[in-house]
């Protein structure tokens, strides 16, 4: 039971990351690898602010703002320019990779290469029945759940959410109906930055952070998206939960080092049997049109 709870919590955070990725992928079909750069930057910024005496109530919003700004800059400075030139997806991915590298190296140059932690005290432990859970994990679980629920309510019930779904379905048709596609893309990137920041802070608060863990976690988030169904907004949640629970089982039965290998094996299985994920139709994705 303990394992399943821990797995669910880590799955929820993975779902948040995956959702951040999906938010950019579905409307724009861009692989936003640079999100890992945002993910890396945020805890360092938070730590810096806290060390200079700012309280968490200031540091967190500043970080959220910074994350949104950096993500929006990715779109404004990079992807929009490539879109205007009708660049191939390869160009988008390589440039996103370039942004990721530049961001991570700047972080490493400014703040150093070592692992850091956001909290210095021993964590409180709560008992829920027979399960033990630390405060950091509880916070992570609760906040992730709240974020996800808020997002899905917004997507389903608000006007803006409806238009966002329309954009994800058919960007050309959307622009022909008079909606400012560029602004909606900025919204997508900005929200993705917001979610990445939230997930990053939650995980950093729990286990610490270093400049190189970002890509790894985003990779897991993308695996969650693919397993859950990359063509649907609900995919990240399903994939994230499945992945989280499976990883924690792997840690229990094998060892922590093999959880990634198991993760990728699961991905391979899904790609072979059901490439469109849990949420998608059972068609086989052939390499032709």
């Amino acid at each position: 039971m303990q394992i399943i709870l821990i797995g669910t919590i880590s799955g929820l955070t993975l779902a948040v990351i995956g959702l951040g990725f999906s938010l950019v992928y579905l409307p724009t079909r861009t692989f936003h690898i640079a999100m890992a750069g945002v993910y890396t930057l945020v805890p360092y910024l938070a730590l810096d602010l806290v060390n200079r005496g700012a309280s968490w109530w200031i540091a967190v919003p500043v970080c959220l703002l910074a994350a949104v700004l950096v993500s929006v800059l990715c779109e404004l400075g990079n992807h929009r320019r490539l879109e205007r030139k009708h660049a191939s997806p390869g160009a988008h991915i390589i440039s996103s990779l370039g942004i990721y590298i530049v961001t991570v190296q700047i972080v490493a140059l400014v703040w150093g290469n070592e692992t850091q932690v956001l909290r210095t005290d021993i964590d409180k432990i709560f008992h829920l029945g027979s399960v033990m859970i630390t405060r950091a994990q509880l916070v992570a679980g609760v906040f992730s759940l709240l974020l996800l629920i808020t997002f899905y309510c917004w997507l389903r019930f608000s006007n803006l959410g409806l238009r966002f779904r329309a954009l994800a379905d058919n960007p050309t048709e959307f622009s022909l109906r008079g909606y400012n596609v560029d602004a909606y893309r900025l919204l997508a990137f900005g929200t993705s930055g917001f979610l990445a920041c939230a997930a990053s802070l939650l995980i950093a608060y729990d286990v610490g952070f270093d400049p190189y863990g970002g890509l790894h976690i985003v990779l897991l988030g993308v695996v969650a998206v693919i397993i859950g169904g990359r063509l649907s907004f609900l995919g990240p949640v399903l994939g994230g939960l499945l992945l989280g629970i499976l990883r924690s089982q792997a840690v229990w039965y094998f060892s922590a080092r093999w959880q990634d290998v198991i993760c990728f094996l699961l991905l391979a299985l899904f790609l072979y049997v059901r490439p469109n994920g849990i949420c998608g139709t059972a068609t086989r994705l052939e390499a032709e049109e």
């Binding site: 409806l162 238009r163 779904r165 329309a166 994800a168 379905d169 058919n170 050309t172 048709e173 959307f174 622009s175 022909l176 109906r177 008079g178 909606y179 400012n180 596609v181 560029d182 649907s232 032709e288």
Partner: protein, 522 residues
């Protein structure tokens, strides 16, 4: 003005010889897309040396059938027997899952191609990073140079074959009239020449049955003559079996060649010999498009013949006041892959002549052009989805060439595209909300809950026309709006479109497929 001319019965020089070798037989082919059946039990046979014309209304499944018979699409049910290689190959559908595990026994295009089933594509598709010569050379089957083992251990064999191949392909190019052009790449030759190279490529790959998907699309008169000559040559000299899909406007050019006609309609195929050319009469075609209605309420103001077989007719409603200039297009040239799609001939100083078009409010312009002419390209460019190479576009006096599609939409352009994809994952009600800025007239309420993507093609089209009817724009651009609608739906659609002209300040540009048989020389 007559739109259609009925052709006389003409005897043909080839006749069916059923005792010829059977090459392919298909029985009970069925295919449905998302619940909508396209083919419901198609039976056909192909004999050696036969030339078949596959015709049918738009959306009847001709391309689907072509894709199935060439291995690009797996049918839901049926059976295909192939006898091209002397021995018999059978494919049963639906295939069992364990059959697909066997890597040697799969229903794939390359498998059928190696058995002599070849095809050409509607948009030519040459390999652009290869020279023309290499385009044909690459089709050679069983080239030793294509196995890396031979590259390193039998270089002599590879070199010998390559030399021989270069000579043979050089000759082919000369036969096609492209003598000194073997080192040009695919995008530097004219469309007609490119199509012929593509057909030569398919033949070089050993095709005994060649499926041609609209081989005359987008060609001018000399290009058409060249392609038809090549096809005739293939039939007479090389005894290749041809199956030609051609659009109703260009059928006349290939009708002389064909000895059999396959009519595909309502998911079923009927075979008949091509002794008499039954063309669609003025009544049946016009009633298909209900264009005859236009003549009652509208008056033809001007008619312009455009190169490559298109025609622009501008109508005005009886009694409408002359007014504001809404659309001005000056010298518009649009290129795709360096080949001009809109743009013809050259003036004295080498510049290309572009399209000129003016529309005033109250105008209803109908652009008739054959498939592949570039109607969709033109409309996409006007709407801002494609860049124009040269030329100016102005709406209500304002230059729009630098505006994005959504900006053009906000200044009064409404573009209805020919594909009905829409917003598949939204519910119908939500799709309507996104399409119009306010709650509009109800469609049948029972559909509101369904996802838009679950509607049939005809329903989607009706939905789009409904949204069209509730919009307020200055310039409406409609790309083949009647495709997929049945008689009653088409009537109602036409009504809505005509109603659009009742408000002041609107003008429409409608593209429809070519319905006239006569071909003006360019």
């Amino acid at each position: 003005m007559p739109i259609i001319e009925t052709m006389e019965k003409q005897p043909l020089h080839t006749d069916v010889r059923p005792e010829c070798r059977l090459l392919m037989r298909a029985t009970g082919i069925a295919k449905a897309f998302g619940g909508q059946p396209v083919l419901t039990g198609v039976d056909l046979e192909l004999h050696e040396g036969q030339v078949v014309l596959l015709q049918g209304p738009n959306g009847s499944g001709k391309t689907t059938l072509l894709n199935i018979l060439t291995g690009h699409l797996v049918p839901d049910a049926g059976r295909i027997d192939l006898f091209t290689n002397g021995c018999r190959e059978v494919f049963h559908f639906p295939r069992h899952w364990w059959q697909d595990l066997n890597p040697l026994d799969r229903f794939l295009p390359e498998r059928l191609a190696s058995k002599g089933v070849g095809r050409s594509w509607q948009d030519t598709r040459l390999f652009n990073s290869l020279k023309l010569l290499d385009n044909i050379a690459v089709a050679k089957q069983q080239h030793p140079g294509e196995k890396p083992f031979n590259l390193f251990f039998h270089p002599g064999r590879v070199l010998a074959m390559e030399r021989q191949l270069q000579a043979v392909c050089g000759e082919r190019l000369v036969q096609l009239g492209l003598g000194g052009r073997d080192s040009s790449s695919g995008d530097k030759v004219s469309l007609g020449q490119a199509k012929r190279v593509a057909i030569a490529r398919a033949v070089e790959a050993g095709a005994r049955i060649l499926f041609l998907d609209e081989p005359l699309a987008g060609l001018d008169a000399p290009g058409i003559a060249d392609v038809v000559a090549l096809l005739r040559d293939l039939v007479d000299q090389h005894r290749v079996t041809l199956v030609i899909i051609e659009h109703v406007g260009s059928i006349v050019h290939v009708q002389q060649l064909a000895d059999t006609v396959w009519d595909l309609d309502g998911g079923k195929l009927t075979t008949r010999p091509n002794h008499c050319i039954e063309t669609m009469t003025k009544h049946s075609l016009a009633s298909q498009w209900r264009i005859d209605r236009l003549f009652h309420e509208f008056k033809l103001v001007r008619s312009e013949v455009l190169p490559r077989g298109a025609r622009l007719d501008v109508y005005r409603k009886n009694g409408a006041a002359n007014s504001e200039l809404i659309l001005e297009v000056e010298n518009l040239v649009i290129r795709r892959n360096r080949r001009p799609v809109i743009g013809w001939g050259r003036t004295g100083d080498g510049a290309m002549l572009g399209l000129n078009l003016t529309l005033r409010s109250g105008d209803l312009a109908v652009l008739q052009a054959p498939n592949g002419w570039g109607k969709t390209t033109l409309m996409d460019c006007l709407a801002g989805l494609l860049p124009a190479n040269t030329g100016k576009i102005k709406m209500r006096g304002q230059a729009v060439t630098s505006l994005l599609p959504w900006e053009r939409s906000l200044i009064g352009l409404y573009y209805l595209r020919s594909d009905t994809r829409g917003f598949p994952s939204l519910s119908v009600r939500n799709a309507r909300r996104v399409n119009g800025r306010r709650e509009s007239i109800r469609m049948r309420c029972s559909e509101d809950r369904h996802k838009y993507g679950e509607l049939s093609g005809g329903q989607k089209r009706s939905f789009q026309i409904n949204c069209l009817g509730n919009s307020r724009a200055a310039l409406y651009i409609l790309d083949e709006p009647f495709v997929g609608l049945d008689g009653m739906e088409m009537s109602s659609a036409l009504n809505k479109i005509i109603k659009l002209t009742e408000f002041n300040g609107q003008c429409l540009l409608v593209a429809i497929p070519h319905i006239s048989i006569e071909h003006e020389p360019c």
